[in-house]
């Protein structure tokens, strides 16, 4: 019995949706319940928290409410209706007390107005919640709290601290430490208990930045801690030609985890081309997997991937952009085997860049027919005055049938209206036909509120 294939093909989920298969949640843990009151409380109390420095502070507040409505038919013919209501809140307060100190928060919560749509009837998460000091010179900075960190070998969400500075000669250093924010659904594995590391680097303006980094996460990942050594390089070789490199060695597994090298030519604001090589080993990269699809027997962890890629972005006429991308993915193992993906698309921006229309096609060819498919997509938006209308259509054609079907379609139509300068109301209707869905209609209502008390922009 090929366990890997069974895992990937999800043959273990024979339940149906509107007459066909659907992976509805069955046994999932409810770990975000306790966070919801905290998310709401933090956001509501925030203005009071900073009341003393309100005059000096630069406050922005964003609220996005999503109400979804859809129905699922389960095995046995039972029809369940779902109406989850999501609230995404974010607050950024800069210039606290007239100092280069800022506070950032974002989080979300869900309440189900009908059947449970996920892990229980409520859920939520705090994405980030931290104080940041940004020194006016040398990009020296410090963060304290929960934040998303990308620094050398690290791409983590941590509850902890981060400091970074650059000296006058261009040498710099960063250090971080804390508790990793991870989630485990793999039996017998727990998330890492602590994580720390740092990066030393040298940067010369407009010419190069080269860094060496170290990361250590204490835990039991495949029975070991995670320990990484990283290297990164950006080098402006000549004029518009630059070279980037990034490599990570997994000391715990004694394996090169990943490498990526690319040459890029950016001669101006209309043309951009890049080509490169990327590789990773399953054993080195997937060591910290806490979800079962990345470990044996779902995958053979002795496999290695080598990819050659190229991308072109060419604004050939003002407003019109041509995008072409290709990559050749080679596996050491014959299963799953090699694959090639080619993609071509054109985009047209108009109405003072408020609107974009695009067409694209992608083709995946592979050693194994089950991995081959084509994808075609078209989209457009139209935003006269306060109204905004968008249409997005996508179709995928699989070479081999999946659950008896070779085609999938999805069309998303939206209509929105700018009620106030800071308030927009919009709605989506999504129609889907796929191997999972005989026919599916889903609705979404979106209420977006963005308030800023000073000029300046962030997205």
């Amino acid at each position: 019995m090929d366990l890997r294939r069974i895992f990937w093909e999800n043959k273990v989920i024979p339940n149906t949706i509107l007459g066909v298969r659907m992976g509805r949640p069955t046994t999932v843990e409810s770990s975000g319940k306790r966070l919801l009151p905290a998310v709401v409380a933090i956001t509501l109390l925030l203005p009071l928290l900073f009341a003393g420095t309100a005059l000096a502070a630069d406050l922005s507040l964003s609220s996005k409410t999503y109400g979804l409505l859809y129905q699922r038919e389960l095995a046995g013919g039972q029809k369940d209706r779902y109406a989850p209501l999501y609230e995404y809140l974010s607050t950024d307060v800069a210039n606290l007390g007239g100092k280069p100190l800022s506070f950032h928060f974002n989080g979300w919560g869900r309440v189900d107005l009908d059947k449970d749509s996920g892990s229980g009837s409520t859920s939520g998460d705090v994405g980030s919640l931290y104080l940041e000091y940004l020194h006016p010179e040398g990009n020296a900075q410090a963060k304290l709290g929960r934040f998303f960190l990308t620094e050398g070998a690290a791409m983590e969400i941590i509850d902890g601290a981060f400091v970074k500075t650059t000296t006058p000669v261009g040498l710099g250093v960063s250090l971080y430490g804390g508790t990793p924010v991870e989630y485990s659904i793999l039996n017998g594995s727990q998330r890492g208990s602590s994580l720390y590391g740092g990066r030393v680097f040298f940067a010369k303006a407009g010419f190069t930045e080269i860094g060496a980094s170290y990361l250590k996460e204490n835990g039991s990942f495949q029975g070991r801690d995670r320990e990484l050594y990283g290297g990164d390089l950006w080098l402006r070789v000549a004029g518009p030609v630059e070279f980037t490199g990034q490599a990570m060695y997994n000391e715990s597994m004694k394996e090169m985890a990943s490498q990526r090298y690319a040459v890029r030519i950016v001669p101006g604001s209309t043309f951009d081309i890049s080509a490169g090589y990327e590789s990773y080993t399953y054993k080195g990269l997937f060591q910290t997997a806490l979800t079962p699809q990345f470990v044996s027997p779902s995958v053979d962890n002795n496999d290695k991937v080598r990819t050659i890629f190229g991308i072109v972005d060419w604004a050939f006429v003002p407003g019109w952009t041509l995008e072409v991308a290709a990559k050749h993915i080679r596996h050491d193992n014959s299963d799953p085997g090699d694959a090639k993906r080619g993609e071509v698309g054109v985009r047209y921006s108009y109405n003072d860049k408020k609107d974009v229309a695009g067409l694209s096609a992608a083709f995946v060819t592979a050693d194994q027919a089950e991995n081959e498919y084509r994808e075609y997509r078209g989209f457009a938006s139209y935003s006269p005055s306060k109204l905004r209308v968008t249409l997005d259509a996508l179709t995928q054609r699989y070479k081999e049938e999946i659950y008896g079907k070779k085609n999938a379609y999805q069309v998303v139509g939206t209509v929105g209206y700018q009620v106030l300068a800071a308030l927009q109301l919009s709605g989506n209707v999504t129609y889907t036909q796929s191997p999972n869905f005989q026919e599916d209609w889903a609705g979404l209502v979106r209420l977006a509120y963005d308030l800023g008390i000073s000029t300046g922009g962030k997205k």
Binding site: T26, A94, P168, Y183, I329, A339, R347, S349, K459
Partner: protein, 156 residues
């Protein structure tokens, strides 16, 4: 084990020496924490206003031009520093995709922005089986040990 412990201490000491030995922080002005002017809608081209090299990020503005090339490789640049990014993007922008725990797909949240690069369009429950087989490394970065609310529905 002992040698590694010493190596870590030496590494830490070297870092501190570098930090405090050179003492003074570079005089180069930092990237402002917030872009001083309102940003226009859509995909912004820094080169429309900025020339040459960003004094804070120490890279040419052409390097961070938000072309398809940059978007595909933005992680490479972000691993050398986030300050220039965070001048225009709030933390929630990154975490639209790079989330710790998330239930809504980026393209569902941004259904009214079909111009944005948003992974997992269409019925991705089907397509991810193919993409996951041929290039699982691209999935792992976001779904390996976090952001697994949807994974766990089937992968147990």
């Amino acid at each position: 084990m002992m040698r590694r412990s010493h190596a870590v201490k030496i590494f830490g000491a070297a870092l501190l020496a570098l930090l405090f030995g050179c003492s003074a922080v570079s005089q180069t002005p930092s990237v402002p924490p917030k872009h001083p002017e309102d940003l226009p809608p859509g995909r912004v081209d820094c080169l429309e206003c900025h020339k040459d090299v960003s004094t804070g990020a120490l890279k040419p503005y052409a390097t961070v031009r938000h072309s398809r090339v940059f978007i595909n490789s933005h992680g490479t640049y972000a691993r050398q520093g986030q300050n220039l990014c965070s001048s225009c993007h709030k933390p929630e922008f990154c975490q639209t995709c790079h989330a710790g725990r998330e239930e809504l797909k980026p393209n569902v949240k941004m259904g009214d922005r079909p111009d944005r690069m948003a992974p997992h369009r269409g019925d991705y429950l089907i397509t991810h089986r193919i993409d996951g087989r041929i290039d699982p490394g691209s999935c792992f970065r976001c779904h390996g040990n976090k952001n697994d609310a949807r994974c766990k529905q089937c992968h147990k």
